[in-house]
Assembly symmetry: C2
Homo-oligomer: 158 residues x 2
């Protein structure tokens, strides 16, 4: 995947956190997946397809997920329940939806979000895809964004 | 999601196991997600989008994943490594790809597969989506298939 393709996702994450959650998110340096084994407990996953196929993953610690849910729903989230699942899915969905508008040349459409829970879970990509990871610091703690995107051969009909 | 929409995925899974892996897979009764908390260690996830948006999840025990990889790659897989990740991703991809052909009215395209590892992980859907689960018995042990699919409002631009 081309490094410049990650930028719309980075911008979308910063904007989503600022406008939806009133939370500042500051990106760190781009990394290859291999460098990171995140201790994060919850990941939102959204698939992208069209003239490119890909996946966006937003991984959060439980603490950040609870704060984000509390801010989004204006309530006090204290455990990983269906509200938190929905909030993490919606954040990931907004990051994907906002980035796809900038990547209009690929005519992307987005799947339902799915949300992975479980300490020690890992989201992995096929070995022929090199996802790019961007760590973020927010007012509430760390999170990271991961994007894998590859162009689809036209004959594949995708 | 409509129950009849799960059938193309069920048929695709049986066919994929038979033709790719030379393994018989027999479906059990349709269940709602809430009934199952799978002890499976590895899940392939593929997003679907188009005139409907959805997600397909194929969850396998480590034992079934190793046997399937060994059959697919004609080698002896003994641990969850990148070969196993690729094989589980490819199986999920084939199930999604084959089902999308039958659901042509939705003009679905499919995302990259992602593969979740980690004992105790759980793949969850937004609360407004009711995924349908189908347990299977195979020559190698149990697995399950989960599908969430909802029609997309045209004005949303998919």
């Amino acid at each position: 995947m081309r490094a410049e393709h990650v930028n719309p996702f980075v911008k979308a994450l910063v904007t989503t956190f600022r406008t939806m959650l009133n939370c500042r998110a500051t990106r760190g340096p781009l990394r290859l997946k291999q460098d990171i084994f995140p201790p994060f407990e919850i990941s939102g996953v959204v698939g992208l397809s069209g003239k490119a196929a890909g996946t966006v993953v937003v991984s959060l610690s439980e603490a950040v997920a609870l704060r984000a849910t509390s801010a989004m729903l204006m309530m006090d989230a204290t455990e990983i329940d269906s509200d938190v699942i929905d909030a993490v899915g919606e954040i990931t969905n907004m990051v994907a939806g906002s980035a796809k508008a900038e990547l209009y040349e690929y005519e992307l459409s987005i799947s339902l979000p799915s949300v992975i829970t479980g300490r020690g879970h890992e989201v992995r990509f096929p070995s022929n895809v090199t996802p790019l990871c961007v760590p973020f610091e927010t007012d509430w703690g760390a999170l990271h964004l991961e994007v894998g995107l590859t162009e689809v051969a036209v004959s594949a009909g995708a």
